[in-house]
Symmetry: D2
Subunit: 142 residues, 4 copies
């Protein structure tokens, strides 16, 4: 069944994605071209201002982008990503990243990822572009 390819791809990716595991990322939903993830901010994710390091929100968004873009069964690598930081993230905050495909061509894909906190406040807005390789995660998928 083609329909469960997104789940199978993300499950396979997550198995070896030790950094997403360290972040404590949980998958809320995954579909072709979109993805929603959550994670909780721990003390070891803070920076010198006592708030979450910018790399934490970026990493969560980057994982969401990776899962959303690879969901089409073609191996996709990030070429460029940018993030605007809007609200400081604190310890024990629960972040949710929602990746949405805004464009897909044979070789590239563009994604917006919004990261919100438990108060539905936007903490960061992310835009990324991926390069799509010919190689597939599951070559035998229908």
């Amino acid at each position: 069944m083609k329909n469960n390819i997104p789940e199978r791809v993300v499950s396979k990716m997550m198995d070896g994605d030790y950094f997403s595991q360290w972040l404590g990322i949980e998958i809320i939903s995954i579909h072709e071209g979109s993805c929603s993830l959550s994670m909780k901010v721990r003390k070891e994710m803070l920076n010198g201002f006592g708030i979450a390091h910018g790399g934490i929100s970026f990493s969560l968004a980057d994982s969401a982008l990776a899962f959303a873009s690879n969901s089409h069964n073609k191996k996709s690598l990030v070429l460029d990503a940018s993030m605007s930081f809007t609200t400081p993230v604190k310890m024990d905050d629960t972040l949710i990243a929602t990746a949405q495909e805004v464009n897909l061509t044979r070789r590239t894909g563009i994604y917006n990822v919004m990261v919100t906190n438990q108060d539905q406040k936007l903490v960061a807005a992310f835009k990324g572009i991926v390069f799509r390789k010919e190689e597939e995660w599951f070559p035998d998928a229908p």
Copy 2:
């Protein structure tokens, strides 16, 4: 002595920067407006492709940006950053991030950060803009 303010600021920031500590970041050099950091890529930093998660290079560059921009003794927060990924980063690679100030106004600063590996190959190019608050790290500094 004004001259050691950059070191004092970064030392104070690093003390509470648990995530940079987790990353294993070491400070190679810090001056007003510039900074050089190194870190070694460990297994728990890898993603589902078996290479370093994009968030790792970003986090290293973001720390370099934070240290370089705060070196002027004014608390500075990242507004927006973008990163282009050029070369996959592997386990055991040693990364060096070099942040250079390209512009500074009363309220904003712009920084380029280059991340290279042990073969002096560029793995990621980063550009970030910070907002500079009035608040100082060491209000009594000369």
Copy 3:
């Protein structure tokens, strides 16, 4: 009436916006925090590949961002913007840029702008962050 402030601001901006005039930009709609513009691609907008210069789509999106962000009656200047180019734009194409506010704080605003052609195909995706000054376009507005 507060409700027509967005129109009044954009009308005032457009009066002196000689470059948007040169581009032939027409205002489809303007509301607080959002804006939709159209323009037609002319021969003098092409680059050496015989397609529209990247600066054309960017300029259209930048105008949409400027109008959407200034619609709140506070003078707002772009700090940083990024654009992903997805589809070549040809002569005689009609472009539509739609700016949507994704976040607004006292000092900053974040906007996504999508640029599509007459076939509703995305040609470019844009994200921008503005700095909001205290100064107002219409100080006496209710």
Copy 4:
């Protein structure tokens, strides 16, 4: 002679680059992977704030990127670019854009472009990534 390929490519590009012509762009220098351009800001380039429209600095930088990246004789198209705006640009200002290659692979190139005014003040910092096609400008070049 391979050495004059950059000049030949840019000359060919400029011939059909009606928008760079409209901008009044002049080529200061062009080498493999780098390029320097100048232009003067005219009244029809201003926006509603009475300063140069953000699209003007972007367009100048985008042309510099296009010339620098195509100088290798391989047709290269911009995938994504970001620009930080640091100083307002005024009418009659003379802008200089300097593009520098920061990385080149078989399929992609990364470039930084700095835009300064006649007082050597940075007005905008730009980073762009291009996709390199197999197609050449001069297939018979040595």
